[in-house]
């Protein structure tokens, strides 16, 4: 065992930081995972990571500087070394542009409690269910399941002592025909793998593969499409990451107004779309306080401990806020808008399931997954990427078969102006960004003129 516990290490670090203080974060992350391919388990793992991270504040002529250090701690000596390193970096750095007074955040009574433990047997639920999946010899199965449990201790020199735990689970099942000419995917995010009905996912991918028995060639071009909640979330998460008030105010963002200032207040879509982050959204709850070690366009160590509420980015189709730290908000002359690790998109006019929405589309393409999304042009937030694991042809309101994959070139901002219909908001797992962002509740959308730029031969 380490000679010092994480909560004790946080206290020791704060003591060593002295009067100038800083922010100290102790993280205990336990993870179990299973991975399978070609209908057999492949790699797997069970790991525990304990890390102490420090942002030291140093007062100097002209303001307060910050410096960071991070590493594992086994004794008080290790804590002392991290504090010394972070202080040395701060002394060299010069005054931080985003320096503000730390707030006095909460003082959790359970701060000194030990980190929660994750038993390796918790993933057995999935391992057991996979035997039934692999028994379906008419398909080949691939996928991944992960259960993590993070316990985080946050202390600041303004008296904040926060301890919080987050469970995150993720299940993905991909099925392919033996000739590898058909491929389907089903995924689920959440807090516990025990909530996963493997049978439901198996039914989902099996049904999709059956539809793919009918293949219809489709040319590239601008198409009317219905995007699944997962596909919509992948596009909007990137947009959220690009929604920094600081960059917009400086004229270097797709949210900049070329006449000066930002596009806040502009109507992005005539639909009653509402895009928000909210730590208290049922089912995708996340920690409701700012925790930052460094500085970025979207956050600042100096904001650590501030309560995060709901942040409405788009309200009834109007851009109403951009993500910011307190300092960036002041500079941009916009309200302070801290973002959190979840996303919600609701269309007040939307209704029905993905299947019902696709049916209402009449004629078009139903896109289930997007992949390899990258920014092409930051001026308009043009993104490129691929469709994946199932694009379906809808004709006369009926799914009549599957079609080839495409490379798309689209801006999620421009796309919102071409939303013509929406479904009911549901939980979903972002296919592209789930490694970093898995808490999403999003409505499926039907888009007019979605730019499927070139065809892809990939399956």
């Amino acid at each position: 065992m380490s000679e010092i516990s994480l909560p004790d290490a946080v206290e020791v670090a704060l003591e060593l930081l002295g009067k100038d203080g800083g922010v100290v974060i102790g993280g205990n992350s336990a993870t179990n995972n299973l991975r399978w391919a070609n209908s057999a388990l492949t790699t797997n793992g069970d790991s525990i990571d304990q890390t102490l991270s420090i942002s030291a504040f140093v007062s100097m002529s002209g303001g307060v500087a910050t410096g960071m250090s991070s590493g594992q701690i086994r004794s008080r000596d290790d804590v002392e070394a991290l504090v010394a390193a972070s202080k040395a970096s701060a002394v060299s750095a010069g005054p931080a542009v985003d320096a503000m007074d730390l707030v006095a955040g909460p003082t959790d009574k359970n701060f000194a409690d030990a980190a929660l433990t994750l038993d390796v047997s918790e993933i057995s639920h999935v391992a057991g269910g996979l035997a039934e999946v692999f028994a379906h010899r008419d398909q080949e199965f691939f996928g991944y399941a992960e259960q993590s449990l993070d316990t985080t201790y946050v202390g600041t020199s303004s008296g904040t002592r926060m301890r919080y735990s987050e469970r995150t689970s993720r299940f993905e099942l991909c099925a392919k025909s033996h000739d590898r000419k058909r491929s389907a995917w089903s995924g689920q995010g959440g807090t516990s793998l025990t909530d996963v009905s493997i049978g439901n996912h198996l039914s989902d991918v099996t049904q999709k593969l059956q539809i793919q028995n009918t293949q219809i060639d489709t040319d590239a071009g601008r198409h009317r499409v219905t995007l699944s909640p997962s596909a919509v979330s992948d596009l909007l998460i990137y947009m959220l990451w690009s929604s920094a008030a600081r960059d917009a105010a400086e004229g270097r963002s797709a949210f900049s107004n070329v006449k000066g200032g930002t596009r806040v207040g502009e109507t992005l879509t005539k639909r009653n779309l509402n895009l928000a982050t909210d730590p208290n959204l049922k089912g995708i709850e996340t920690f409701d306080r700012v925790v930052n070690l460094g500085s970025s366009a979207l956050g600042s160590a100096f904001d650590t401990g501030i309560e995060i509420g709901r942040s409405d980015i788009i309200t009834d189709g109007v851009l109403t806020a951009l993500g910011s730290s307190r300092h960036a908000a002041q500079e941009a002359k916009l309200p302070f808008t801290p973002l959190t690790d979840n996303i919600s998109l609701v269309d007040a006019q939307g209704s029905g399931s993905l299947a019902e929405l696709a049916s209402r589309m009449g004629d078009g393409l139903l896109i289930t997954c997007l992949w390899y999304i990258r920014e092409v042009d930051p001026q308009n937030l043009l993104l490129t990427g691929l469709t994946r694991d199932g694009v379906y042809v809808v004709s006369g309101g009926e799914v009549i078969g599957a079609t080839n994959n495409f490379r798309f070139n689209e801006s999620p901002i421009d796309m919102l102006a071409r939303v013509i219909d929406a479904g009911t908001t549901v939980p979903c797992l972002p296919r592209e960004w789930a490694d970093w962002f898995s808490r999403a509740q999003v409505a499926p959308l039907t888009i007019e003129g979605f730019n499927l730029s070139t065809k892809s031969d990939a399956i």
Binding site: T31, N33, L34, W36, A37, A40, L41, T43, N44, G45, D46, S47, I48, Q50, A65, M68, S69, G71, Q72, S75, A85, S89, A90, S92, A93, G94, A96, V97, V120, I123, L130, F134, E172, L173, C174, K176, S183, G251, R252, V258, G294, S295, W371, Y372, I373, E375, N380, L386, R388, R407, N409, S411, D435, G449, N451, T454, K455, S456, D457, A458
Partner: protein, 496 residues
């Protein structure tokens, strides 16, 4: 080599883990102790935005038990932890064995015994103080901050050091150390008609601080020209989309190699092991030895021995000695990248040494070696290649990239797009993206630059696997000419 204060030696931790694994029925047991040190400084308009260091160390045990893999890891570096981690790995293997279809078989590898390997560097970047690094970056900023075209400047320096100890039941005890360094400076122009940026093209490298002071890259000249490049880009016309001949500089082509050859020739992908995540590959094993990957002048190697390569090692993360081998010979697919278990799937006698884990907290998987396109036999310069193009674009520096899940359809942009007319560069174009299908693109390669144009590009952020792992990797290549490649106008692509 790897020393962690106040903890048992790697050998003692290893003994505890391997003995626990062997005495509890493991047929294969591999112990790893890995320490990863990182430092980074970023400036925004000359002010420090972030400065910090990170040091991570952990131990792990990977076993084969009941015919299945089991892996466990911990950041606690005690004899008890090493012992318990081995038992946890066996527990995981037992769970896996319930649904593992195939028994794990490892391709043979000679026992190398006790070995030590260090990537050579000239100046230890970790010896530089924070103040020295900040001052160095600020000097770069000052070189261009007076330019009227430059509205903002972002710059950064990062460095990393990996120290690893690997041991197994066969008697291997391998200590290694490798360093890497990266830096970049980006100038941004903002006006009432929008914004543009221009970034340095220097790749990260397996070198020390000497890399930033002129060894391997001419930073002074490049940074001095950034305002001029940016100014020309701002004023340049938007490209006319269509089929263009392209001369692609190594600072851009390395990334196309990475995506369309590097990942496509990973055997685990070709066999479906990445199908749920990164995808598969069009280069399936039935194509080995007969598939025309590109034009006859195309020769590509996999290499874990390249000087200053980011994927260069002495031994991989399951004790296989570093090698160099052919992936594509005279335009034909002839090889793959493997680890030991994947190599055995296609009856290879030996793995070519591509097992890698980005930390001891992750299980080794097959990762990319330095995959490099060999230069032409004639020592043509980039200017020679440009002189042979009547109408085309010379593309320099990497930027946006994306490729499909079988490595067919790709789309790339770049830093600079110089228009070529009658063999001469006449000015920049903007809003350029080139898009193609891998075999078509490489079949269109009609001319290669010689050894004098060869450059080792690369990246620190190659992602693969679930749970996700990040690997540094280099790709060497000369300048090369490609015929009639589809060029998109990115403004047209976004037009409503």
């Amino acid at each position: 080599m790897i020393q962690i204060p106040n903890t048992p030696t790697p050998e003692l931790l290893s003994s505890a883990a391997l003995e626990a694994a062997a005495s509890n029925g493991a047929t294969v047991a591999q112990f790893r102790l890995a320490k990863h040190d990182m430092r980074g400084v970023s400036l925004r308009d000359g002010d420090v935005e972030n400065i910090g260091s990170e040091s991570n160390v952990a131990l792990s045990v990977r076993v084969v038990h009941s015919g299945a893999w089991g892996f466990a890891a911990s950041t606690e570096l005690t004899i008890e932890s090493a012992f318990n981690t081995a038992l946890r790995a066996i527990q995981v293997a037992k769970i896996s064995a319930q649904v593992a279809a195939d028994e794990v078989i490892l391709a043979n590898e000679p026992v190398h015994g006790k070995q030590s390997w260090t990537l050579p560097i000239e100046i230890d970047a970790f010896e530089k103080t924070d103040s020295e690094i900040i001052e160095f970056l600020q000097n770069w900023n000052h070189k261009i901050s007076g330019s009227s075209i430059v509205s903002h400047i972002e710059s950064n320096i990062g460095m990393g050091r990996d120290q690893t100890f690997y041991s197994d039941l066969l008697g291997n005890e391998i200590s290694q150390q490798r360093d890497r360094i990266s830096a970049a400076l980006t100038a941004i122009h903002v006006s009432d008609s929008g914004f543009e940026d221009m970034r340095t093209c220097a790749p990260p490298a397996g070198r020390g601080w000497e890399y930033l002071t002129g060894t391997g890259w001419d930073w002074e000249s490049e940074i001095a020209r950034i305002p001029e490049y940016l100014d020309e880009k701002v004023k340049s016309p938007s490209v006319t989309p269509g089929a263009w001949d392209l001369v692609i500089d190594p600072t851009n082509l390395w990334l196309t190699i990475h995506e369309s050859i590097g990942h496509a020739t990973e055997l685990d992908r070709a066999l479906g092991y990445e199908a749920n995540y990164a995808g598969t590959s069009f280069a399936t094993i039935d194509k080995l030895g007969n598939f025309k990957y590109g034009s006859p002048i195309m020769n590509v190697t996999g290499d874990r021995t390249s000087d200053h390569g980011l994927s260069t090692v002495g031994y991989d993360d399951e004790g296989v000695a570093a090698q160099k081998w052919d992936l594509i010979k005279d335009g034909i697919l002839v090889g793959y990248q493997t680890d030991r278990s994947i190599a055995s799937k296609i009856k290879m006698d030996r793995s070519n040494g591509c097992a890698f884990a980005d930390s001891a907290l992750h299980s080794p998987i097959q990762r990319m070696p330095n995959v490099s396109l060999q230069p032409g036999t004639e020592d043509l310069t980039t200017k020679d290649l440009i002189s042979n193009v009547e109408s085309g674009i010379y593309i320099v520096g990497d930027k946006s990239w994306s490729i499909d899940m079988q490595r067919f359809n790709f789309q790339f942009t770049g830093q600079r797009f110089h228009e070529i007319k009658n063999g001469e560069i006449v000015g920049q174009l903007k809003d350029v993206a080139y898009q193609s299908k891998t075999p078509d693109f490489w079949a269109s390669m009609r001319q290669l630059g010689g050894a004098s144009t060869y450059l080792l590009g690369g990246a620190l952020n190659c992602g693969k696997g679930q749970p996700g792992q990040v690997a540094p990797v280099s790709h060497g290549c000369p300048s090369a000419t490609f015929t009639k490649i589809n060029v998109l106008n990115t403004r047209d692509e976004s037009a409503k």
